[in-house]
Amino acid sequence: MMNSRMIEEGEGVRAARARCRSHWRTAMLSILAAVGVALIMLLGKTGPGHLQPIYAIATVAAMAIVLPLAIYFNNRTKDELDRLNALKANSFGFYVAVLGGWSWLVLANGGLVPPPNMLALVLATSLLTMARYLMLKMGR
């Protein structure tokens, strides 16, 4: 006899939960890898805004390996709707970076604002891209 618990715990639900676990595992590994990259950078710090050259190279090399791998494995755990949302959010981020960067530069050339700050632009682009992705995930 089939009860509601059996319907709820069917093979599809088990597969969905396994997918979800795999997604979170990948996300946690990506976060750990990012922490590792940050630690390499912190180890080589000699002062505010200064890094020993070897640590600067090691940080960039670690990022160049970790970032594509994290994107690749995260994409593997996403379904097509989630991949589409990520693509839309990335396009939005691209427009923010291009439009924001050029506008800031032109306004700075006109003496209206301070010169562009790369870190501020990268942070704003990253945050707005993530915000757009979360909005799309919530169906907005």
């Binding site: 319907i7 709820e8 069917g10 939960r17 997918r19 709707l81 169906g139």
Partner: protein
Amino acid sequence: MKNRLRVLRAERGWSQLELGGRIGVSRQAVNAIETGKHDPSLPLAFRIARLFDLRIEEVFDDEFKDD
């Protein structure tokens, strides 16, 4: 795109999570397809049709049929 996914799912007593697990997508994706907010890719549409033992056009409405 209109489709009969919600009806077919209900006939089997499956939740959106259950159906999602069987076709390899999230519950949110099933909901988006059912409400017509997301048109599935051709491979996913085939997977759905195969799961219900139907042809694609028996699950999804061809809205450009008369064009």
